[in-house]
Amino acid sequence: MNPDFLEALALTLRLAGVTTLLLLVAGLPLAHWLNRFHGWLGIGLEAVLGLPLVLPPTVLGYYLLVAFAPNQILGTVWHQLFRSSLAFSFPGLVLGSFIYSLPFAVQPFQTALRGVSRSILEAGAMEATRRQVFVFIHLPLAWRGVLLGATLAFAHTIGEFGVVLMIGGNIPGKTRTASIALFDEVQKLNYPEANQYAIALLLVATALLACSVALSRRTG
């Protein structure tokens, strides 16, 4: 198989994998924390975090590009730490994907965590600390919803285009993901290659959606 195809596919999977791991690490405590807020504050917080669901990806891409600039705080700090630019780099894409896929992970996480019976958790709280209850009782009981959130976030990251186009710069092996490579091949009139990407993405998306449907039917 064509090495460019494999490179773009591997990069896409790596991006989705890293993003999903980070979303699990940060998204689960965040979802737990959000569930404790009620009233206007909770609504406000959820609305802000849910913005990527409806916001054009170019808006997020634009703000990220501005924030990555060497004269901005984020850009400066990153440059001081790693001597490289966040724009047009893999870490930059991870950050963009993290924000862009956040609601796809956090919302199912919240639903799943809310679905666990309070009495079980209260019983657990008599014996263990809050963190222990969360990690050893709450999360294991909510595993289907957690897996659903992770699957959706993974699928959504693979399907990302606008954000990657704006902050990625289409660099082979670094930021040229499968969806960008598809766009690129069409412009070069390489339809067989474009077709390869399209079929691969279609298959992956279908498989992931089947997983998420199966998971949500059982949690539902």
Binding site: V18, L22, F82, F88, P91, K174
Partner: protein, 268 residues
């Protein structure tokens, strides 16, 4: 997976993830590679240039990205890791030099581009009659050009249409391609009636003999002086210098010539 005994393992996981991505990034950076940003009119020409370069320098790997020159300028200004910038004009490379982002001595003009009026429906749109056919809004409903704001070939198309006195007549019927390759794709797929594209694209293997084209009088637009420049990161990359020398060579000039470019007389 969440039943680990030690809650700290999450942090360790995060650390592993960070380390893994950092290593991959550094491994990629250490190979003898040259990151090339090339104007979209070069896509097919570049395939041949790259194949020839690989025969001469099998140890150097070229990583190619094609797009509109104006976008590349912005990206390089924002720190995109390109070593070599093959622009479709000379203005953008000069701007990089002026901004201190490219060494002045590396800049040279490698080719002069040409624009053509092209259609895949020659019966409906007889492009051989020249640009004036575009005034006929019955037959020519849509015309593709590259975005003049950031694509030099789009700027040349706009200049030619203005000079021919057609700009106001065609403006509402224009479809703008992101770069000249996408513009050609619009025409090739038959989604527009005709387009103004780079001759070099039509002489490539994909489009040779497709449709009919008419070369536009070069007096109608400012010359498309296509210049190349090293970036600051390319300056310290010996392989990038080697690639630049190759672009000056007789072999490369012959390839540019085959793709319809005029080669600047003042060679190296």
């Amino acid at each position: 997976m969440f039943q680990s005994r030690n809650p700290l393992s999450w942090r360790q996981l995060l650390l592993v993830v960070c380390l893994l991505s950092a290593t991959t990034v550094s491994i990629l950076a250490e190979r003898a590679t040259v990151q090339v940003a090339a104007a979209a009119d070069l896509v097919y020409c570049l395939d041949e240039l790259t194949a020839t370069f690989h025969r001469q320098q099998p140890t150097i790997e070229l990583k190619l990205t094609s797009g509109s020159s104006g976008n590349f300028l912005t990206q390089i200004e924002q720190g995109a890791p390109f070593d070599v910038f093959l622009s479709a004009d000379i203005g953008y490379p000069k701007q990089l030099v002026a901004e201190g982002l490219a060494p002045a001595d590396s800049l040279f003009v490698y080719a002069h581009g040409k624009i053509v009026l092209w259609t895949t429906k020659p019966d409906a749109v007889p492009v051989v009659q020249g640009l004036n056919i575009l005034a006929d809004s019955q037959r020519v409903v849509t015309i593709a050009i590259a975005n003049p704001d950031h694509a030099p070939y789009g700027r040349a198309a706009k200049a030619a249409l203005e000079k021919a006195g057609l700009w106001t007549a065609v403006q509402s019927r224009l479809v703008l391609g992101e770069n000249i390759a996408q513009t050609a794709q619009f025409v090739q797929a038959g989604n527009v009636d005709c387009g103004i594209v780079a001759l070099s694209l039509l002489l490539g293997p994909k489009l040779k003999g497709v449709g009919t084209y008419q070369v536009i009088d070069p007096n109608l637009y400012p010359p498309l002086e296509q210049a190349v420049v090293l970036t600051r990161s390319g300056e310290t990359n010996a392989a990038a210098r080697t690639y630049l020398d190759f672009l000056r060579s007789q072999t490369a000039r012959q390839i540019f010539d085959r793709y319809g470019f005029t080669i600047p007389a003042s060679g190296p």
